[in-house]
Amino acid sequence: MFLARIELLPANESAKTVALFATCLVDLFQPEVGFAAVRLLEAAGFDVRVPDQGCCGQPNFNGGDQDGARQIAAGLIRQFAGYDYVVAPSGSCAAMVRCHYPVLFADDQELERSAVELAQKTWELTSFLVDVAGYDIGSAALDASVTYHDSCSGLRELGIREQPRQLLSSVAGIELREMEQPDACCGFGGLFCVKYPDVADRIGSVKTDSICAVGADYVAAGDVGCLMQIEGKLHRLGEKKIKVVHVAEILAKALLNVSRKDSPGSVDADD
């Protein structure tokens, strides 16, 4: 939306390389999240590359198709070799690479080694910015209240709880408001919401109820899967006041407010 047309910073060729693993949901459904992630990573001083890529194989892995997951993983391991870091704007896709790739290849030592190597340098975006890059968002500003939904895989497989909150609350003007049980699942669950839409809807309703009760301007999360589930339910309910955004988008938007002051006219935001 507001980011697709942002002028990105000039590529910093001497910096460490980050390969952005955009993830298929960002690639196909929310390209602006990819650009927001690039914007943040470049602001943190990295040289961002985007290798040709597809899905991490999670649908197959969680659907019981281990062979399929292995085949997809083997491809992704090749595509992302040779960078200093791999960063994904998704807890569940980063967790797939970090936690599950290494155990997929027990029968193939060479691939196992590459999988472990990739796993060790793969990070979810907010944890990379905070834990690896020590990124300070500086004078970024945004006057808004935000409630943050903890995406399950990021929270429980990668321990991401404080990082996004830390980034959000260091933006001048952002007021973080906690919803009831922010760590409760939104009901997306990948194939689950396709196979059991009724149950997924009820779980989603519980989540959107707690989001609406907070009454924040934005609900943010770190996974596009959750965002689609939440946004889809709010849209059907006709709830227009609460904007559903990836945490990267809101941070990049706050950065934008700074660059707007620094060099007026360099951005073209449309929100």
Binding site: A11, G57, P197
Partner: protein
């Protein structure tokens, strides 16, 4: 084990439409995680205690044969008897035979999930015995002819008014209208059950733990009904699973400390009873006959499999209370007496995967259960393992298998992904309608996909993928 798990979808729909059930589930959802977390916080290093509990249970599973043999020796030394049942049918037969041997007419029971698993009540009733459940929740569902909908709170799905109606229908008390006051109903149940306690010949209880070193049986309740069930009748029969055995009293203490905190957010349950054998010389009360029926019913077969960790389960029910799926649909939707995450793993093990394939499928794999399991069972991994087994046996629908096969092919090569998704996006966007800004929405999908948009809209994919936009952007940056 009989299940109706293959009807999960229909049962879940029914549950979602059941307002009484939904009100109860909302209570579970809101209250239980909070009180468990508060109890964990009040405890000195609850995480360390859970690690200890996990080690205790792991020791049990690793030394099951030795511990069970020791337990049997100790029970026999105390004057009791141990009976081994390979299957549920064998167990119910043993218990029916024991009842026959003491000329039993009426039986009282305290709550036991193993007895639900082996369908003990119906077996005993068809053998001509009167069986009365004495846990209030179990008693209510017995009157209503139902199965438990929660392993700890079996009548969770029943409203107070429905309890009144059940009491009115079954208690034979003349009155104008069914009782509506909870306190009044409680006293009524107590009066009815007190008669049953006093006249029963056999009392059947479950066991939370079996203590190998002492031959002790540990029973935890909130109502004290198990204590009456095991001490008033002349014969006490314990029915439980072989995996419940624990090395020592000290180890049992560790488990008791995590059990009530995980289950109900309390340090201990109201009643925790250690019973060792029948009435001894010189004692003036207690049963003369003491029998422990150890049920395998598929448990030992799990030992050699990837599901071995599940045998650590202490049936605390925390995984149900924290599960988004359980708290959306309740226990009956699972079609098995074991529900929630633990049920979705145990039921396929006990009843076979073909009829129960929905249970491991109907999970978001959110992992909240695993994060609060007091004995560290890797529930997500085990759910996924059942999905692997079901995929290997081609049990998912042809559509699902075809979808995964396509996704695998598409994602092996980025170029194929790029081409296929490009056309896929064009196709999907043709079904979408405009929204605000550039966002388009899928609001009514056709045919079998209609269900996806029944309750919610789906954001349509973007016209140009991130990678396509990035390539253009890169080209622009270089020039």
């Amino acid at each position: 084990m009989q299940t109706t798990s293959k009807h999960f979808r229909a049962q879940a729909r029914e549950a979602l439409a059941n307002e009484t059930l939904q009100a109860s589930l909302e209570g579970v959802r809101r209250v239980m995680p909070e009180i468990r977390a508060a109890a964990a916080d009040r405890c000195d290093d609850f995480a360390a205690l859970c690690t200890q509990a996990k080690d205790v249970r792991q020791h049990s599973i690793d030394h099951l044969d030795q511990l069970l043999a020791t337990f049997e020796q100790q029970v026999v030394a105390a004057g009791g008897q141990v009976h081994w049942a390979r299957t549920g049918e064998e167990a119910t037969q043993i218990i029916a035979d024991l009842c026959a041997s003491v000329d039993c007419r009426s039986i009282i029971k305290s709550k036991s999930m193993v007895s639900e698993e082996i369908e003990l009540n119906s077996a005993l009733e068809s053998a001509g015995y009167e069986v009365t459940e004495t846990d209030l929740g179990e008693y209510i569902i017995q009157l209503r002819g139902e199965k438990p909908s929660h392993i700890l709170a079996p009548s969770l799905h029943v409203s107070l008014a429905e309890v009144g109606e059940a009491f009115n229908a079954k208690h034979g008390i003349e009155r104008d209208a069914p009782p509506t006051d909870a306190g009044e109903m409680l006293l009524e149940a107590r009066a009815v059950l007190r008669e049953k306690f006093l006249s029963a010949d056999v009392g059947i209880t479950g066991a939370n733990f079996l203590v190998a070193e002492t031959g002790g049986v540990v029973v935890v309740t909130n109502e004290g009904n198990a204590d009456l069930s095991m001490s008033l009748p002349d014969t006490h029969i314990v029915v439980t699973g072989i995996e419940k055995v624990v090395r020592s009293l000290v180890d049992t203490g560790v488990l008791l400390r995590v059990l009530a905190r995980s289950a109900i957010g309390e340090r201990l349950s109201n009643y925790t009873t250690f019973v060792h054998g029948p009435r001894q010389e010189g004692e003036i009360s207690g049963p003369r006959g003491f029998h422990v029926v150890l049920v395998d019913n598929g448990r030992s077969q799990l030992l050699g499999t990837g599901f071995r960790d599940m045998l650590r389960c202490i049936r605390c029910s925390a995984c149900l209370n924290h599960c988004p799926v359980y708290t959306a649909v309740g226990g009956h939707a699972y079609g098995s007496v074991y529900s929630g995450p633990m049920g979705a793993i145990l039921t396929p093990a006990f009843a076979g995967l073909p009829g129960t394939v929905h249970l491991p499928g109907a999970s978001t794999l959110c992992g909240r259960c695993e994060s609060i399991c007091p004995v560290g069972i890797p529930l997500v991994k085990l759910l996924r393992r059942w999905r692997e087994a079901s995929h290997a046996q081609s049990l998912p629908t042809a559509g699902e298998r075809f979808g995964l096969a396509c996704w695998r092919l598409v994602n092996r090569w980025p170029l194929v992904y790029r081409l296929v998704t490009k056309f896929g996006v064009i196709l999907v966007r043709s079904l979408s309608v405009p929204g605000t800004g550039q966002q388009r929405w899928l609001k009514r999908l056709p045919s079998f996909t209609a269900l996806w948009t029944q309750h919610r809209d789906i954001p349509a994919p973007a016209g140009n993928s991130f990678q396509a936009q990035w390539r253009r952007h890169r080209a622009g940056r270089k020039s």
